[in-house]
Structure formats: C-alpha cells, structure tokens
Amino acid sequence: MTELDKRPGRSTTPAWLVVLDRELRDIWVSGRGLPLMLAYTLMLSFTSYLVATNQAMNFLEVRESVSLTLKVAVAVSVLLVVLASADAISGERERETLESLLLSPVGRSALVVGKGAAALSLWLAAMALSCPYLWFLGRGVAVVGKAVVGGLVVGALLALFLAGLGMLVSIFSVSNRVSVSVSLFLLVALYAPAQLATVGLQPSVGDVLQRIDPFTSGLSYLDKVIIDGHSPGQDLGLMISPVIAAVVFSALALVASSRIALSPWERS
C-alpha cells in the first residue's frame, strides 16, 4: 500500500474496490463485456449442438459430452481474462490515460487488484452462462453438479493464473497489442510441449510435460473427475501446477505493481 492509500479523511471504501467498481462499469456497461459474452455463448451453442447431434457418430458418451463442453467453456472463459488483464495497464498507457490514473489517490497495488478482479468477472459471467449447456447435456447421469463445481475450481485457478500473467505482461508492455501477443505466445509455449507429449514421447516424459502446463493439467483433472468418475481428491497431483501458477503469477503481478510507470522502461 502506498502513502496515498493511507491519507486520512478519505472514503473508508478500500481503494481496490473503487477501482473494481469503475472497471466493472467499463467492462459491463460501456465496454466489451456483453459483446464478448455474445460471442462466447454463440461458440458454446455451436459446440453443444455438435456434441448433442453428432454423439452417435463420434461415440461420445454423455459424460464425455459434458466434459468436452466444460473444457471448452473453461478454456475460452479464462482466455477472456487474458484479453481483459493484458489491456489493464498497457491499454491505459496506449490511450494516454495512465498518467491521470497514477495521479489519482489510489495505490498501484490497489490498481492491479481492482483491474485483475474486474477481468475475473468476465470468467465468472462466462461460467455462469455455461451452466444451462452443462445441465442440458448432463441431465440423467448426475454429473452436472460435479461438472459445475470442478469447472469453477479449475477455472478459478486458471483465471487467476492468466489474470496475473496478463497483468504482469501488461505492466511491462508499451502497447495493448504487444501485451496480448506476448501473453498468448506464453500460453502457446506452455501448451505446445504438452500436446507434443501425446504423440510419440515416452509416457513418463509426456506425463511430466502435461503436468507442467497448468492448462493441460487442470483440464485433465476435469476429465478424471467427470469421465472416469474419480473422487475429487484422487487426482489432486494434477492440480499442483494450476495452484502454483495461480499463486505465483498473482503474487508476481502484485510485486510488479510497484513498477507501473508512464513508460514500461522507466522506474516509478
């Protein structure tokens, strides 16, 4: 917390909540929240329709259908978080509004927390919108509850990881384009070796690579719980990398908040 946060006579509302309130309005009232949700639900509708109507052709069992739809929902919803968080600081810098923001009586860490939480609202709304699809596909096999809870837990960890990553890159990026590109490149760089692991590598090496990538590991956990019917505690090893990634990247973003400056190269 900076000196600005500690000034007497200010509102008792925590500074990060003030930032969150403003960011939520930006995203949901005058921003891209609703258009993104429209695109997201269209994508989910398309996926669910294909899964439901092509089930016999693709041998998809009901649990597999639910798991597939849930994994798409989680993956895309957390990618929305990257788009929002990668814009958080570099976007203000690009729009030349960062200076006024830095002059406001809000600490830099509060800025990061507020903007990060607002970015997470995209994930939360997207997960809420995926519930009707999961219910439709999973009714009759008592798997909807497991899918929703599992999706929320894995999604929360991945969303925190990506919010931290996006924010971290955004702090050190000169423009929004650079920030989003670098964030997505880092994700692909983690994801690609995990996918390579499925084609031809020794099982032990492949397993390690898959467990290193928080994305692959988290989504595999959902498969184990929903398709294989494992208990939530049975495959907790798969949750190690999502948990570590969520904690480390959120902490790094908070630590790096002290470096927020008008130019990414100058020290604040």
Binding site: V29, S30, L34, P35, M37, L38, T41, L42, L44, S45, F46, S48, Y49, V51, A52, T53, Q55, A56, F59, L60, E61, V62, S65, L129, P132, Y133, F136, L137, G140, V141
Partner: protein, 180 residues
C-alpha cells in the same frame, strides 16, 4: 462376393472346430497350427476399445512359414451390418516362420462400432499348405450407451445467445439515449 464367400467358409470352419463354451481350448490341426485366444467373452459399450491376444502354435514336426493371422468380426443378428474394416485398423498380421512346437502371441486391438451380440475370431491361413485354422469364438457384447436427447438443444442453442444479444441491444440503446 469373394469376401462374403471367404467369410462364410471361415464361419463354417469356426462352427465346426470351436464350441463357444470352451473358447480357451485351442482350435487345432494336428499337422498344422493351433490357435488359442485369451478369453471367451468381452463386454464393452458402443465406442469402447478392447484388446485381446491370440496364440498361434505350430503343432507339426516341421517349420511352418507363410502364416497369416486375420481378425474377423460378425454379428449373430442378421439385421446388423458389420464392416470389420471399421473395427480395427490392423486386422492382418504376418507371422515369422514357426519352428516345430513353437508359438507366437499376437495382440489385437479394436473399437466397438456396432451394438448387440457379436462374435470375434482369428483365422490363421497357412499360405504354404493352403489351409485355414480358426480360433475359438469370443462372444462380444456391446452395450448401447446412454444417449443425449438432442431434441431440446436447438431452443437452448438459440435462446442463450438471443438473451445475451437482447441485453446487449438494450445496453446499446441506453447508451445512445444517454449520449444524445
């Protein structure tokens, strides 16, 4: 037509040499080879993958070469069409020459494409002597999987985006009103 004839011949040889009740017992030709399978039945669901092994043994006193093992699947329900090509990507295996009383174990992998009662067997063709020996049959029970009732998906697939689109339209309208 040639395929059908071959299948009929193999089926006849199968029913003649391999009672279903004793599938582990080898189906054999005392002057040629015997073929064993490691199970009598497989229970799976539609789309399920299965694996089994067969053992081909040279029962004669001389080395036999040119043995070819072939996996076959057929339905006991005349109304079910079965295309074995869909069941396994590797249905033919060429064996190395077998010395007297030597055996070779072959692994077979497949995926259930049709539901219902089916039969799997392995036929071994001795291309040198022109004989065919079939394994005992494996009873394959393929269950139908619970399916999704897709009839309600369209209202949902249209309804949710429509609701979000409506919210977006109202939001745009309100913003336009506020700005004017």
């Amino acid at each position: 037509m040639r395929r059908l004839t071959a299948a009929a011949v193999l089926l006849l040889s199968l029913s003649a040499t391999s009672p279903m009740q004793d599938a582990r017992a080898a189906s054999s030709d005392p002057d040629g080879v015997s073929v064993q399978v490691d199970r009598t039945s497989i229970d799976t669901q539609l789309g399920g993958r299965f694996t089994f092994t067969s053992t081909v043994r040279n029962e004669s006193g001389e080395t036999i070469s040119g043995l070819i093992a072939h996996l076959n699947v057929l339905s006991s329900d005349p109304g079910t069409y079965v295309d074995p090509e869909d069941w396994s990507s590797r249905r033919t295996q060429y064996l190395d020459p077998l010395a007297p009383h030597e055996s070779a174990t072959l692994t077979w992998r497949g995926q259930a494409v049709n539901s219902g009662p089916l039969v799997l067997y392995v036929a071994v063709i001795d291309s040198t002597h022109g004989t065919v020996t079939a394994s005992p049959a494996i009873e394959l029970a393929v269950r139908r999987q619970p399916s999704i009732d897709a009839s309600g998906i369209l209202p949902l697939a249209i309804g949710v985006p429509a609701a979000v689109g409506l919210l977006l339209a109202l939001n745009l309208l309100q913003r336009r009103r506020t700005s004017s």
